[in-house]
Symmetry: C2
DNA sequence: TGCATATAGATGCAATTGCATCTACCGTCA
DNA sequence: TGACGGTAGATGCAATTGCATCTATATGCA
């Protein structure tokens, strides 16, 4: 087999940078959001998916697939979002176990306000550091690390 | 000013992939460690830094700089590591407030066992997906996103 | 020296996460 | 139909994180 138990120095270095950079970037964004009195990044992820989904909403298990959050995590996050009036839970007709989550107007508004901060952070932290071509290269390389890999 | 409030599509895409991939990779490694009955990744980070530092050890604030963990996080993580006998806390001569943290033999052993799992994950998840040149490219690009940027 | 301010690290308490499990409903197949 | 395994989501409890603050020592400076 070609699988190696010991990673190459190049792999270790790329890994280490990936870990460090992603942590640093997440922290920067979280700080910026807090600074603006806004909810944490996790809320954005969910609101974003729900906004994209539109009026039809999404089932919690679909949110899990899209966001990679754990099931219990989504369950509680949705409870918090609902308590804040940012989403609403609707019963779903053909499956008595489930529910559909729909973003509310207030939820869209919160998402919009978060994006002004989040988007600016992305522009500064990433957009401002690499050219468009470099960003594309980066996306391509990262896509190959995804599971399943994205081959574009 | 050249700073933009709205990120380019390329920046957004690179960001999204970075977020998703890093989460996915961390989760894979955490799962592998758990599977092996080993402590979480955070322990490795600290043990690694301490092992590199050698007999002289490191002050907690140096660990904070190196690992990016929050101060209270390091404080408690070190308490757990000490409780497990993986590190020892020594008073420091010229600063009565501080202490020096040194890895123990048991700590080195734990780190070694973690590395067999961690290293294999890196080899599979990263080393196995990109060529050496691609890994170098990736490191270079990520280095530019670091703060402070690494220009190599 | 003596006070103000800064730094190193710990900690009480609230919020969140992780784990395991639970409830409720669904689908299948005898 | 009805027993059974599977899926959707919630939840009790322990561990961890985040926040704010606290203690203790160090440092700068009048």
């Amino acid at each position: 087999m070609t699988e190696k138990a010991t990673p190459s120095p190049e792999a270790i270095k790329a890994w280490a940078r990936l870990m460090r950079v992603s942590r640093q970037l997440v922290e920067s964004v979280e700080d910026a959001l807090k600074e603006g009195g806004l909810p944490p990044l996790a809320w954005y992820d969910v609101l974003h998916e729900l906004a994209e989904a539109g009026e039809g909403g999404l089932r919690p298990f679909q949110l899990i697939e899209r966001t990679l959050f754990a099931q219990y995590n989504i369950s509680r996050l949705l409870a918090r979002l609902e308590a804040d009036g940012l989403v609403e839970k609707l019963p779903v007709a053909d499956d008595g176990r489930g529910q559909t989550i729909r973003i509310t107007a207030k939820g869209r508004e919160t998402r919009r306000r978060m994006w002004t901060v989040y988007g600016r952070s992305i522009a500064e932290l990433v957009g401002g550091k690499l050219s468009a071509d470099e960003l594309k290269m980066m996306s391509t390389l990262l896509g190959r690390l995804r599971d399943p890999p994205v081959l574009d």
